[in-house]
């Protein structure tokens, strides 16, 4: 087990370096955007003096590297600074929205992952059957449509025409869990439709790959029934690639929801990131992006650890 811990420690160290690099890239990218925060905040109505006064007030007249290292120094001590626009702490503003995003991602994942794996196993079991074809066509169609389009279709049929679910996913802290789940059903369903195909196809092909191996043939010769071959013999060896794909899709559920948020008016972190970029609100952009990057790094790490745990051979790389 200690070798796994060593791997985790090493990966976390590398992850930290990655975050540093990302923060530099984001800072330069925000700097390179045309216009600056003073112009963006004051809008079209500002005069030159207004803009200059605001730049001075926000400290934007100092050179870019100075501002970056000042931010970095504070960030290392856990202080992500204040939003330049609203003058409120970044962490407070982000926390609630990120919690909403995580909640939606979890909701979607709890529906999507079991469905995807079940469909994957079933399509592998009945491969090339009508069921296989239909499942493939349906999931590939949903992944090929843009999220906002899927969202609109769902709104049209499940909200406007039938009234089963609300089209606005505005949730607030005083709602019961059940109310929240009802309000958030359509955005969650949209995301489920977007991620299922990828995970299902990977499960299916990983299993089918293994079905050609000699030990599966052995099991078959022994007279083990088809579903048992897949669940007991093939699936355990197929976990590594499946876990990887699941991790990638979970990361996508957290980071790729901007369009879904816009369509369903869901108060998540994606909308906040977009708003901050338009206003050049660097501390908020930086914090959002670092959260996204951390999500990717941690989920990838989890995928690797999961793969290693399901396949002891990976613990001893040659």
């Amino acid at each position: 087990m200690s070798d796994v811990l060593k791997i985790i420690a090493k990966r976390l160290g590398l992850g930290f370096v990655t975050l540093l690099v990302i923060s530099v890239i984001i800072f330069s990218a925000v700097e390179m955007l045309p216009g600056d925060i003073a112009e963006a905040v004051l809008g079209q109505g500002a005069t030159k003096e207004n803009v200059a006064a605001m730049r001075e007030q926000l400290g934007l007249d100092r050179p870019a590297p100075v501002r970056y290292f000042e931010w970095l120094g504070n960030a290392l001590t856990g202080d992500f600074g204040q939003s330049l626009v609203s003058q409120k702490p970044v962490s407070g503003a982000i926390a609630e929205r990120f919690a909403n995003t995580l909640f939606l991602a979890l909701y979607a994942a709890l529906i999507a992952v079991p469905i995807a794996i079940l469909l994957g196993v079933l399509t592998a079991l009945w491969r090339n059957s009508l069921f296989d074809r239909v499942a493939n066509v349906a999931t590939l169609t949903s992944i090929s449509s843009p999220e906002f389009f899927l969202g609109y279709i769902l709104i049209l049929f499940l909200s406007v025409k039938t009234g089963y679910f609300p089209s606005l996913a505005k949730i607030s802290a005083d709602m019961t869990l059940w109310e929240k789940l009802d309000r958030m059903f359509l955005p969650a369903l949209t995301m489920v439709l977007v991620v299922v195909a990828h995970m299902m196809r990977m499960t299916r092909s990983a299993i089918i790959n293994l079905l050609a191996s000699p030990y599966i043939e052995m099991a078959r010769l022994k007279g083990v029934p088809g579903w048992r071959i897949i669940v007991r013999h093939a699936l355990p060896n197929a976990w590594a690639p499946i876990i990887n794909v699941i991790a990638l899709n979970l990361a996508y559920l957290v980071t790729g929801v901007v369009l879904v948020e816009v369509v369903f008016v869901f108060p998540g972190i994606g909308q906040m990131l977009v708003d901050s970029v338009t206003k050049r609100d660097f501390p908020v952009v930086q914090a959002c992006c670092l959260i996204f990057a951390t999500t990717f790094i941690l989920l990838n790490l989890a995928a690797d650890v999961g793969a290693i745990l399901t396949n002891p051979r990976l613990r001893h790389p040659k």
Partner: protein
């Protein structure tokens, strides 16, 4: 005017009225100016809204567009509709634009000027109070206006108050504003959305962070970019505020807005997508309000840069646009035709007797020949973010101008930084302007010879002379004459092509009622729907 053209004009106006392009008030205004009897026209509206007695009660759920997570309560940085619409609920202004587009009282009960219009005195309503319970006093007003003045201010309204020399609290309920030059429009300026009155702190600055105000509704809870819950301020000094509570929901996505209205999640939306307007109108539960405004699309040409330095070239370009086609195809009919002067029919001092400039490629050709600029080729810059259909409008215009032998090369600029990198920098652009309360503000801002935003680099001596005279002229008749002449100058000599003034198009559930007229300064009855409208 012969009998024939007169009846043609009435027909055209009636058609416009039926299509909702002009209001009843405008119709009467136009026909009266033309010296016609409008008995036929007055029948147009009788079947519409019957004046009803407002009823109190209910929660008004209002879906609004253009809201940002990073918005704030700072009145100096008000820029999105969320900030502006919210401000009209929880804060007050000194004056307000009434539904019939006249000037009316808000916090100020009355106002008067010295004969040179250099000093204005406002009397406050003694009943006005902040939500915290404290009465609104002259100190609060002074501090609130000073927020936009001085070296250090970051307010975008600074330029509006540059003439202000001093603001004095004469007594608890009297404010005196001293100006460096006469300005007959000062009470109108006080309706500007930045000039919200906030509670003053002891050091003479204002407390804008707490969200306390003296408006008809107080903030119970809310977050920028998401939603706001407000409830009636029982001590409000004004008349109205029929709803018990107001819920403002930020719905930036046009589809989300329309869906929310159709499914009944909101009672009113502040903007509807024009492309689907006709589909929305089919819904029997929904009423669409199509209100002409003073917001304009302008196409400035640099009058000091070839080829636009020749007035014949400028007028040829103005003649080469088929405005009706552009209004029909780009604005889907929801616009008022422009006549190349920056004053809309719903605004004060609109000169109704200046003839409409029509599409005339032949005349344009003749003008180009006179200027020796046949086969003119120019570049026109715009961006998608300027307004929905901006690039399409320019492409359509380029097609129309071909008939006059003009080749217009439409340049689609990036949305980001359009107003900082393209506008005022490229010689021919298409941009959009929000409405300003009076012609003086608009002309001073963008047509005065030394204005920072003189987007057409137009320098007309007579115009600038009139502009200064009109500013301090308190005699309404003489003032109207001056603005009439200025508009004529803009139209015939100016460097700005004005295709149209875009309407505010918003929609509400049928159970939401409003008065016969709707203010034209902002969407939803001058952003005051929550305090002016009621449930049936």
């Amino acid at each position: 005017m012969t009998k024939k053209t007169e009846s043609e004009l009435v027909d055209r106006l009636a058609a416009d009225a039926k299509a909702g392009r002009i209001s009843r008030r405008q119709f009467l205004q136009y026909t009266m100016v033309a010296g016609m009897s409008a008995s036929a026209g007055s029948l147009l509206w009788t079947s519409g809204v019957a004046a009803a007695v407002p009823k109190r009660g209910g929660t008004f759920r209002w879906g609004i567009h253009d809201g940002n997570t990073s918005d704030t309560h700072d009145p100096g940085t008000y820029v999105t509709r969320q900030m502006i619409f919210l401000a009209h609920q929880y804060r007050s202004y000194l004056t307000q634009i009434e539904p019939d587009n006249s000037l009316g009282p808000d916090l100020a009960l009355s106002w008067e000027a010295t004969p040179d219009a250099k000093q204005w005195t406002f009397k406050l309503n003694p009943n006005a109070s902040f939500h915290s319970g404290r009465p609104v006093t002259a100190e609060d007003v002074v501090a609130s206006l000073n927020h936009h003045r001085g070296e250090k201010t970051t307010s975008a309204a600074k330029s509006l108050l540059t003439d202000v020399k001093d603001i004095i609290a004469a007594d608890k309920h009297t404010i005196t504003v001293k100006l460096s030059g006469g300005n007959a429009d000062l009470p109108w300026l006080m309706t500007d959305y930045h000039l919200a009155i906030c509670p003053a702190k002891s050091d003479g600055t204002i407390d804008w962070k707490s969200g306390d105000g003296s408006g008809p509704y107080k903030i119970d809870s809310g977050k920028f970019g998401v939603s706001w819950n407000l409830s009636r301020h029982d001590g409000w000094h004004g008349k109205g505020a029929y709803f018990d509570a107001v819920e403002m929901v930020v719905l930036n996505d046009p589809n989300a807005r329309q869906t929310a209205l159709i499914t009944g999640d909101v009672d009113c939306v502040s903007q509807v997508d024009l492309k689907t307007l006709n589909l929305l109108k089919r819904n029997p539960n929904i009423q669409v309000d199509n209100v002409p405004s003073g917001a304009a699309i302008t196409m400035p040409m640099f009058c000091d840069t070839a080829p636009f330095n020749d007035v014949n070239v400028r007028n040829a370009l103005k003649l080469s646009m088929d405005r009706q086609e552009i209004i029909d195809k780009i604005a889907f009919g929801a616009a008022t035709m422009g006549n190349d002067f920056h004053l809309a029919p719903v605004q004060p001092y609109f000169p109704a007797d200046i003839p409409q400039r029509e599409y005339d490629p032949e005349k344009a050709k003749a003008l180009l020949k006179k200027a020796g600029a046949e086969g003119l080729s120019v570049s026109l810059s715009t961006a998608d973010s300027v307004f929905s259909g901006a690039v399409d409008m320019c492409v359509l215009y380029a097609e129309q101008a071909k008939k006059a032998g003009i080749n217009i090369n439409v340049v689609r600029e990036p949305n980001d930084g359009f107003y900082s990198d393209v506008w005022l920098k490229k010689p021919f652009t298409a941009v959009s302007w929000g409405a300003r309360p009076t012609p003086d503000v608009m002309f001073t801002l963008a047509y005065k010879h030394d204005a920072a935003w003189n987007e057409s680099h137009w320098k007309n001596e007579r115009f600038n002379e009139l502009l200064l005279q009109a500013k301090s002229e308190l005699n309404q008749e003489r003032r109207a004459e001056m603005y009439n002449e200025m508009c004529q100058l803009m139209r015939d000599d100016g460097g700005t092509l004005i295709p149209f003034f875009n309407n505010f198009v918003y929609a509400r559930n049928k159970k939401v009622m409003h008065g016969l007229e709707l203010a034209a300064n902002w969407a939803c009855d001058g952003a005051r729907a929550p305090s002016r409208w009621w449930f049936a």
